[in-house]
Amino acid sequence: MTPRVQGRLFMAVVLVTLGLAALFGLIVARPALVGGPAGDPSGGHIAEHFRQPHHRIHDLAFGLLLGTTVLGMLAQVRAPARNVAGQLMAATPILALLLATLATDPRVLSIPWVAVGAPTIVATLLHPALFRSFGTRRPSRPMIALITVTAIPLLAYALSNIALQRSGPGDHAALGHYGYMAAFAFAVVGVGLVSSLRLPGWRLATPVTGALAVLLGSASLVWPDVDGALATAWALAAIAWGAVYVSVGEIVRRTDRLPS
């Protein structure tokens, strides 16, 4: 495949991914659009997303996973060669969801993330600059250290959700929600690692990593009794860690810009 053909195919896949993400966003906003033709004008379970209080943390986590993918794909529309980290960032939540599925059960599989995820992975594999950019990585030790520190509690959080998904009764497990939470924990670590490699476009992944932690912590403080919420101390720790990670990323970025 010539570089020109691959570049065009890559961009087509990116646009398909973004189109599918927009479609699923529209369906969540207007469930009757798909519910009517499917014989259930109420929209069935789709109508419950972001509308039922006891699913709020799970819905937020799933939205943040796909939101991370969409952000990374949007970055490709303008300049793929300068946003290699954005492409890896987009693929990370999908790989995290796949890992959570393999660790639990097929109930975690759902059409929205599979339909958006498949073209995201294809775009990653076809990215015009991804493979040749690996040689330009410049891992940041402070950022990797911060990821290592948070990986331990996040993996514990993921393992507890994997156990719930495997054995947990109720609608959360039936809908794969515990698997999503495990994937969320994997994704924070994964996106953080992508950011800390400092591949081209890494500055997008740094605030996203911090935002994922801050938003989970904040949601846990706002809805402490909802399934999936972190305990108050851990929620505060997540918020603090997110802020520190973004700050350290900014320091690293400014150090980069200083003349040597």
């Binding site: 495949m1 519910g35 059409i111 339909a115 294809v122 076809l126 809908l175």
Partner: protein, 67 residues
């Protein structure tokens, strides 16, 4: 432009190594760093096939509205 190299001695002291040129041509790599490996193309095809199969089977079972 395809750049050919000779291995084992300075390139200018020998004519272009036709084997190197052929291998670079067959792998679609010209000057510059290596591009997309072949396994990436194969994996992309497998991903598309699996995803389409999953979505079709899921929709056939009426699984979308019911999650």
């Amino acid at each position: 432009m395809l750049r050919t190299r000779s291995f084992g001695s300075p390139a200018e002291s020998r004519p272009p190594n036709i084997v190197c040129a052929y291998m670079q041509l067959m792998h679609g790599q010209d000057d510059g760093p290596p591009g997309t490996p072949r396994w990436a193309y194969a994996t992309a095809i497998v991903v598309v096939v699996l995803a389409v199969a999953f979505v079709v089977m899921h929709l056939a079972g009426g699984g979308f509205v019911g999650h």
